[in-house]
């Protein structure tokens, strides 16, 4: 429905001559009506680009990309540019180019000043402004949780804790009744899978049966919460949010380096119950925490590993538009960030203000600035600071060696040059170092130093950033500030030895070391840097070739010492010059002897150094705000937006980020006690995993398009209590699984008939009974391994390759792994984007492309076929049969099998059915009662029983 407002037009009109107006009516208006108004007028069904072309005023006002015309200047007018088809990204009309004479007429008309007769103008009500404040005030999720009084309930004996009180109150209001407690075995199986992703062992089952005290339940929960299996289970939930993968997908599916370290970080974090506010901060800005968490066992900085989660998205080689590629990566990062931590779909605001939520396009680019200012790096972590300790010794040896030099015979030569970067007056602003190899300062100007890593030619002049001063073995990186590339070539004056490399990173694109298509000459690998000479000499290296395409782009230089060799960087310039450097003289005389001794000693110290542990991580780069991309196009830029959190979350009140990206301030703004989303979103996720459906069922979307909470007061109470309890995941889980609500049976109270249910609560949102839940994909497979006795107990470490079937084809095909993955839990199977494990895929394991807090749940014959015919299942059935056959008595075998697989005794009817089955199968095989094949079939049958994959 359009509302027309009639406005009288002022001024200019009278100025047009009759012929000018005639020209408009004859040559211009028909073209506009015929070719433009379908999308750009009040009559348009959908107005495109917020552009109306049905009045002169509207044209001057313009749309998303600015004014359509500049009267008198056709070449400066967007309208003319687009109809000329000069800009491949903005061609109008989109389907067919206008005939040449119409284009000429439009040009002429603009040149005339765009004459237009006086006429009534209509304003389109669709021009309405996006009102962020109004949206914020109207939707619940933006308001902080408040403390509600506990609701009163009539059956006070039923409740165990406040959770139950909230649940029961709603049930009573709806005239529903909770149901009886689940059978003990059912509860035990439920809670064991929920907390550890594995079934209870027969011993755990019998122990629990024998303990008839109420305390038995608590004991079970406390045992499960301290089991290492807990972290594995909950890490996998979190991996769904972080679109965890170990390869980049796309054409060649290149590996993501060290991804599994992040998976192991998660396992440890959940096992150690790292407070959630700390966990969030580590994910967003673990590299920037003033006092990072150090893992007691490994002695490694844990906090920084979490930042790897930003970097697990897809990546492609050879993008034809590298900036567009960066925009897509950042878009995905913001999508994952905002859905996971905030339950918001901020990415929907990339091209236009959010259609429903209080999120503006500016908000999107405010967040994008943080990522624009951050870099993807591989960090060299120092276990228990052992490398630093060894380095102290090496540093002192290096100082000693430098003192031995006879200053009279060797003197540095320096020639001033027109360089882009030089180190003659120290490390320039904005350069960053990582790892141990590069010292904090360049070699002192006008001096000679000794590089322990270059024993044959140890003398280095001043103003050099040298990663070999303390030996060859140290690893590290040196990075320049981000700058705009001005020339087609860049020259680096440096000396290199061993396993070192240099990249120029263009618009954050990091794939050139994997594949150089379109990026030739932007990466110098060890081979390119390798010296013909026996000893590394300073010389000019060129970055060029494809680099010419990227003039005007934002770039930075990255010098990497991978731990065997060194890089000594003297200077970086657009032109090479006759740079003379220190003449490297051979050693001689007494100094030689003293020096040799020091060098030998250094070698020994170096040898004892441990290797660093490498992890993928985020690091601050050069601070940069992003510009609004009009309609999401990086070729159409709008205002600059300061880096900040969302407006509706108080982002505009945040202090301006000064040094660095400002991610730490962003992280801190997420974990305030009164934050309306962080705690709510998290407790809701935990609820979802324990009860099958979240209090807000759309766990990743608390916005207007998401679902309303079924128990808003309970959600608030849980969020506030969670914060009050120190953001402890384990305390939260303990409280939930020990509730009466969680202990309900899946069979409803007999008073609650199907008819009542259909009327009042068809989806069981109020929890009048427990939900029947299918195991998650990983648990389906892990359950089989646990039952058969094949489960490998190893926690963490590099992933096991997926077993490839003949249907898994394509480029970048990895090596196939063992059929049962060495018995390792499913979260340890390699996650290669283009070769995902088919068994898990059949049971709805999501493909890792963005946050997936709620998996889809299908119930399809492909799952039956998998359990019926997958050789893995048969193999495990055989293993289990071997275990059962140790038991001499068939009936006892059946009993043992049920206890292992279903945490219960078989019923008499089940014994009968199975004995019947066994005897038929014996006949079929013409085999005896202890035949392995018969019992393999028995085990296979139980794996296929619905009870194997459904919890009640």
């Amino acid at each position: 429905m359009y509302r027309y407002a009639y406005i009288s037009l002022l001024g200019i009109i009278a100025a047009w001559s009759q012929p000018e107006l005639e020209f408009f009516e004859k040559e211009i208006r028909p073209v506009l009506v015929q070719s433009c108004y379908e999308c750009h007028s009040v009559e348009a069904k959908k107005v495109k680009a917020s552009l109306w072309l049905d009045s002169r005023t509207a044209m001057l006002e313009g749309g998303d990309t600015g004014p359509a015309i500049v009267p008198g200047d056709p070449d400066a007018s967007l309208l003319i540019e687009t109809v000329r088809y000069d800009n491949v990204d903005l061609e109008m009309p989109p389907k067919t180019k206008l005939p040449a004479h119409q284009i000429e007429a439009l040009e002429k008309w603009v040149a005339m000043g765009a004459p237009w007769p006086e006429e009534e103008q209509s304003t389109d009500s669709r021009k309405e402004k996006f009102d962020l404040e109004k949206r914020k005030n109207e939707h619940w999720c933006w308001q902080s949780p408040i403390s509600h009084p506990f609701p009163s309930v009539s059956d006070e004996t039923w409740t165990h804790n406040p959770v139950d009180q909230f649940i029961l109150a709603k049930l009573e209001q709806a005239n529903l009744k909770p149901t009886a407690e689940a059978k003990k075995g059912d509860w035990l199986r439920r809670v064991t899978f929920d907390l550890t992703g594995l079934p209870p062992t027969p011993k755990e089952v019998t122990n629990f049966f024998e303990d008839e005290t109420e305390h038995a339940y608590q004991k079970v929960v406390d045992r499960l919460l301290t089991s290492s299996r807990f972290g594995e289970r909950w890490a996998r939930h979190w991996m769904d949010l972080m679109r965890y993968a170990e390869s980049y997908g796309h054409e060649f599916d290149y590996s993501i380096p060290h991804a599994w370290r992040y998976r192991d970080y998660l396992i440890r974090a959940f096992n150690n119950d790292v407070p959630y506010h700390q966990f969030v901060k580590e994910h967003v800005a673990g590299d920037l925490l003033p006092s990072p968490r150090i893992d007691a066992d490994s002695g490694l900085n844990e906090s920084v590993i979490a930042t790897g989660s930003w970097l697990l998205g897809e990546a492609t080689h050879g993008p034809t538009d590298v900036r567009a590629d960066e925009v897509l990566r950042i878009d995905n990062q913001i999508d994952v960030f905002s859905k996971s931590f905030l339950g918001l779909t901020v990415s929907c605001a990339r091209c236009h203000d959010h259609k429903f939520d209080a999120i503006s396009t500016k908000d999107f680019y405010a967040l994008a600035g943080y990522l624009q200012s951050s870099r993807r790096v591989v960090r060299n972590l120092d276990p228990h600071e052992k490398i630093s300790q060894g380095m102290a010794k090496l540093q002192s040896l290096q100082r000693q060696a430098s003192a031995e030099i006879d200053k009279t015979t060797i003197s540095p030569v320096q020639t001033p040059t027109q360089s882009l970067f030089s180190f003659d007056s120290g490390l320039p602003d904005g350069w960053t170092r990582e790892g141990q190899a590069f010292p904090s300062k360049p070699t002192a100007a006008n001096s000679v130093s000794v590089a322990l890593g270059s024993p044959k030619q140890p003398f280095v002049g001043g103003g050099v950033m040298h990663s070999g001063l303390f030996g060859n073995k140290l690893s590290g990186a040196l990075r320049s500030p981000t700058f705009t590339l001005e020339e087609p070539e860049l020259y680096l004056h440096l000396a290199a030895k061993g396993n070192v490399s240099v990249n120029i990173v263009i618009d954050g694109y990091f794939m050139s070391p994997y594949h150089n298509l379109l990026f030739k000459g932007t990466h110098l690998n060890p081979k390119a840097l390798k010296q013909k000479n026996a000893h590394p000499e300073f010389q000019w290296y060129k970055l060029g070739k494809d680099l010419k395409k990227y003039q005007g782009h934002r770039v930075y230089l990255e010098f990497l010492d991978h731990g065997d060799g060194f890089l000594a960087i003297d200077e970086i310039a657009y032109r090479k010059s006759d740079q003379s450097h220190l003449n490297q003289l051979p050693l001689d005389g007494e100094a030689n002897l003293a020096l040799s001794q020091i060098l030998t000693e250094a070698k020994a110290v170096e040898k004892a150094l441990p290797d660093p542990v490498r992890v993928l991580a985020m690091e601050d780069g050069t601070p940069e705000n992003d510009l609004v991309h009009i309609r999401g196009s990086h070729k159409s830029l709008g205002d600059e937006v300061a880096r900040r959190n969302l407006t509706a979350l108080g982002g505009e009140q945040m202090p301006q980020a000064s040094a660095g990206s400002g991610r730490l301030q962003l992280a801190e703004s997420l974990v305030t006690a009164e934050h309306p989303l962080t705690a709510r979103v998290y407790v809701n996720r935990v609820w979802h995993h324990l009860f099958g459906v979240g209090i807000v069922s759309s766990v990743d979307d608390f916005g207007v398009m998401g679902e309303e909470p079924s128990h808003p007061e309970l959600l608030d109470w849980l969020a506030l209590d969670f914060v009050a309890q120190g953001w402890s995941t384990k305390k939260l889980i303990r409280q939930l699984v020990l509730s009466k609500t969680y202990r309900q049976s899946c069979i409803p109270n007999p008073e609650i008939t199907e008819e009542i249910v259909a009327q009042i609560d068809p989806d069981n949102r109020l929890l009048y009974k427990a939900r029947v839940r299918r195991l998650q994909a990983e648990a389906v497979r892990d359950n089989i391994l646990a039952i058969s006795g094949s489960l490998n107990q190893q926690i963490g470490g590099p992933s096991t390759p997926v077993h490839l079937t003949s249907f898994m084809e394509g480029r970048g095909k990895p090596k196939s792994g063992p059929l049962n993955g060495d018995g390792r839990r499913s979260l340890y199977l390699a996650v290669k984007r283009n070769f995902l494990p088919p068994f898990e895929a059949a049971f709805d394991r999501p493909i890792p492309f963005t946050t997936m807090g709620r998996r889809s749940l299908s119930n399809v014959p492909a799952q039956s076929l998998t359990l019926m015919n997958d050789p893995f299942v048969i193999q495990e059935a055989k293993r289990w049969a071997h275990v059962l056959l140790k038991n001499p008595e068939p009936r006892a075998r059946i009993q043992q099998a049920f206890l292992t697989a279903f945490a219960r005794e078989p019923q008499e009817a089940e014994y009968e059915a199975l004995q019947q089955f066994l005897s038929t199968q014996q006949t079929n095989y013409q085999a005896g009662p202890n035949d392995e094949r018969v019992w393999t079939d028995f085990c296979h049958l139980l794996f296929n029983k619905k009870e194997s994959i459904y919890l009640r």
Partner: protein, 475 residues
């Protein structure tokens, strides 16, 4: 339209019953529960499909992986011969960046073009068999893609988005219409040996339920993953499944008669039947010699045999009611249709593999009265440049290329859209992938704007927020 609210599709039988109470009539509901489509019964979208009378029931998508050259096949450009060997940017003006950035001179097509049929479509000598069916084909010569790199462009062609992680068009069709055959999946990919860049995600169901993902069928002993019983005798498996069923039914009460469990039990019967249905489908021994010959199975070129077999099975899938059948290319040496060099040899081999089988398929479908219900689409992810890459190749060209459609609801013999005189860019009636998708769904009776699935706060569509049905090529 993507902004409208829809109830998520029902997943369980109980949910369907509930939804049925609001929407579908009792009769339709009863048939839905008794005659379950493959997988879950989630074939209905709010019970309102089809949105209009369908013109086709099935789609066969002939996916020409790698980007066939339109100027050497269906888009005749005599101008190229005129400027053959001349500097491309001097003759043609500003050129867009290409994938390999190795622009050679303008290259006339090495193949002769002739007009065919009453409609007079120009077809090159690469497609002598398909040319005979010119009057069945609707050419769309103004196709464009947003991407000039295979993986992006493949995802774009299949899912309407250049990024990994969106449902493939076949999955959307299944989500909209379900399968008419409960023993076969609704979306079958006949794999000729090449998986396109981007991998199996080109056929993914992504956030749609897993049942809608493309099932990869291969030639050979095991045509579909896990379709072969592991038991040596069928009685062994049958006994197992019978015992399973009685045990599962014994335990039903423990779950409060949960519908998900009932469905899961029923799935085993479907799975059991699939074990027979799939090998039956693949067994082409019963086809007449004439039919086999029609598809080129007697060819001495293995590529033709492979693709011929795929085409023949595609027809058998259509007969069995499978909604969406995609064929990938056979290995013929070289790299798919992606002739960055040796255009002549590469395209000749590719065409030799697919030409006769496609012609055979069109003829066979027509003879059996299936063509009017079957939409056949021939498409690559982009076309190729009118100028050479290096000496004798052509680079990727997403700015203008040709696809054709035939069969159900399509006006054969039409031609829609044009590229410029060089075949470089579409200049008239430009078509986007979203338009192709909208048109395909339209022919199946689905309004692409109404076929949505709520994910990540949005009602997602195959056509994103775009797409116009190309009415001009419809009968």
């Amino acid at each position: 339209m993507h902004c409208r609210r829809y109830a998520p599709a029902p997943v369980t039988r109980r949910q369907i019953l509930q939804q049925g109470a609001h929407g579908i009539g009792a009769v339709a509901l009863a048939s839905l529960l008794n005659d379950r489509s493959f997988g879950a019964s989630t074939s209905i979208l709010n019970g309102k499909l089809p949105h209009h009378a369908p013109r086709a029931k099935n789609i066969i998508f002939l996916y020409m992986d790698g980007g066939p050259s339109h100027v050497d096949t269906f888009d005749y450009k005599p101008t190229l011969a005129k400027y053959n060997g001349q500097n491309a940017s001097q003759v043609m003006g500003k050129l867009e960046p290409t994938q390999f950035d190795n622009v050679g001179t303008i290259m006339g097509s090495p193949w002769d073009f002739k007009q065919y049929g009453e409609c007079g479509h120009w077809v090159s000598s690469l497609f002598p068999h398909v040319a005979k069916h010119a009057d069945k084909l609707a050419m769309v010569k103004s196709c464009t893609s947003q991407f000039s790199e295979h993986t992006f462009a493949n995802y774009f062609l299949h899912t309407g988005s250049g990024l990994q992680g969106r449902p493939s068009m076949g999955a959307w069709v299944g989500y909209g219409l379900g399968s008419a055959n409960q023993n076969l999946p609704g979306f079958v990919v006949m794999n000729g040996g090449m998986i396109p860049p981007g991998g199996l995600d080109n056929f993914s169901s992504s956030f749609l339920p897993a049942t809608y993902q493309g099932s990869i069928f291969k030639a050979g002993k095991e045509p579909l993953a896990n379709i072969l019983p592991q038991e040596k005798k069928s009685a062994l498996q049958r006994n197992k499944l019978d015992a399973l069923k009685s045990l599962d039914e014994l335990a039903l009460g423990n779950y409060g008669h949960e519908s998900a469990i009932e469905s899961a039990i029923a799935n085993y019967e479907t799975a059991y039947r699939m074990q027979t249905a799939v090998p039956d489908l693949m067994a082409i021994d019963g086809e007449s010699e004439a039919t086999k010959k029609l598809y080129g199975l007697d060819s001495n070129f293995t590529g033709t045999q492979t693709f011929g077999r795929q085409c023949l099975i595609a027809r058998r899938l259509v007969e069995r009611g499978v909604r969406f059948i995609e064929l990938t290319c056979p290995k013929v040496g070289g790299d798919r249709w992606d002739q960055h060099d040796k255009l002549r040899e590469g395209h000749e081999n590719n065409c030799r593999a697919v030409d006769q089988p496609i012609a055979g398929l069109l003829e066979d479908l027509q003879k059996r009265g299936l063509l009017e219900d079957t939409l056949v689409v021939w498409a690559g992810e982009f076309g190729r440049t009118p100028f050479a890459q290096g000496k004798d190749g052509r680079d990727h060209n997403p700015f203008g290329f040709t696809m054709w459609l035939a069969g159900g609801g399509v006006k054969g013999g039409t031609s829609y859209g044009e590229t410029d005189e060089f075949g470089y860019k579409a200049v008239q009636n430009r078509i986007e992938m979203h338009d192709l998708h909208a048109t395909m769904l339209h022919l199946l009776g689905i309004d692409h704007e109404q076929s949505t699935f709520r994910f990540g706060g949005r009602d997602m569509r195959l056509t994103d927020v775009h797409g116009h049905v190309i009415h001009e090529i419809l009968a």
